[in-house]
Symmetry: C2
Subunit: 137 residues, 2 copies
Amino acid sequence: MTSTDLKKAGLKATMPRLRVFQILEENHKRHMSAEDVYKALIDSGEDVGLATVYRVLTQFEAAGLIARHHFGDGHSVFELDHGGHHDHILCVKCGRVDEFIDETIEQRQREIARNAGYEMTDHALYIYGICNSCRNK
Amino acid sequence: MTSTDLKKAGLKATMPRLRVFQILEENHKRHMSAEDVYKALIDSGEDVGLATVYRVLTQFEAAGLIARHHFGDGHSVFELDHGGHHDHILCVKCGRVDEFIDETIEQRQREIARNAGYEMTDHALYIYGICNSCRNK
DNA sequence: ATCAAAATGAGAATCTTTTTCATCTGAGTT
DNA sequence: AACTCAGATGAAAAAGATTCTCATTTTGAT
Ligand SMILES: [Mn+2]
Ligand SMILES: [Mn+2]
Ligand SMILES: [Zn+2]
Ligand SMILES: [Zn+2]
């Protein structure tokens, strides 16, 4: 992420924007909440406001730089849009998150949308379960 | 829904519980938020607290009487568990909601969970798009 | 009718996210 | 390098959904 990339997205290259993007790149966690990003920023000695983190994440999402997900625990999580679309499988015990993409499902979804008269814009699929390690203890 | 049904679920047969269930049965909207249910109750002349509506809906969910969904606009919606599991397709313009069930997808999900080492407990699939009538105007 | 346990209503509290607003900064212009 | 100002920021307040607290009421069994 460079100043030029931000300008391309119509955003000024400001310190908070560069740093938020860096934090996501550093991959502390693959999926980070706004609070996670904020804390990482503070820990790194940066002086940003939480409101700015929310604003910047929303702008990055609008610009297609990151994806937002709702894992079901009441807050949004974000991840760099590396590798494009995929879905998630979550452990309800330990919070572990795995990713997958299934072309059969992707295609059926398109068909279902078409049959229902919709022009599909997006979709979200979450599988919840108990992961291997949680099951064996 | 009778007092007996509630007792079977380990819940005392109270007025708020009976009335909340009735509201859902009356099918004002197929998918109602806690606030929706609360307003319907007030309109019907009942004197209940919003906190009680939230409590009762959560208890009904735990008892398997109703299902809770997260359509993505920041609040939970509930529906009677008639007909069992199904998924949803939503219009991002007008809020219209359609329902569907696809055995191919259901089966692929089970396989994905198994391959990832998870014992699946639940899943949620939301397709977002623009409905026919919103597209033609 | 009596009584303990469970449930309720009102309002406070919590949690996440957004808004407001005075101040500051990025990046063209002189 | 100084000048300008639209756009960006931080702090705090506000908003919106949901949960918690607690004094009071109701239920269901005796
Ligand atoms: Mn992911
Ligand atoms: Mn439904
Ligand atoms: Zn686990
Ligand atoms: Zn529509």
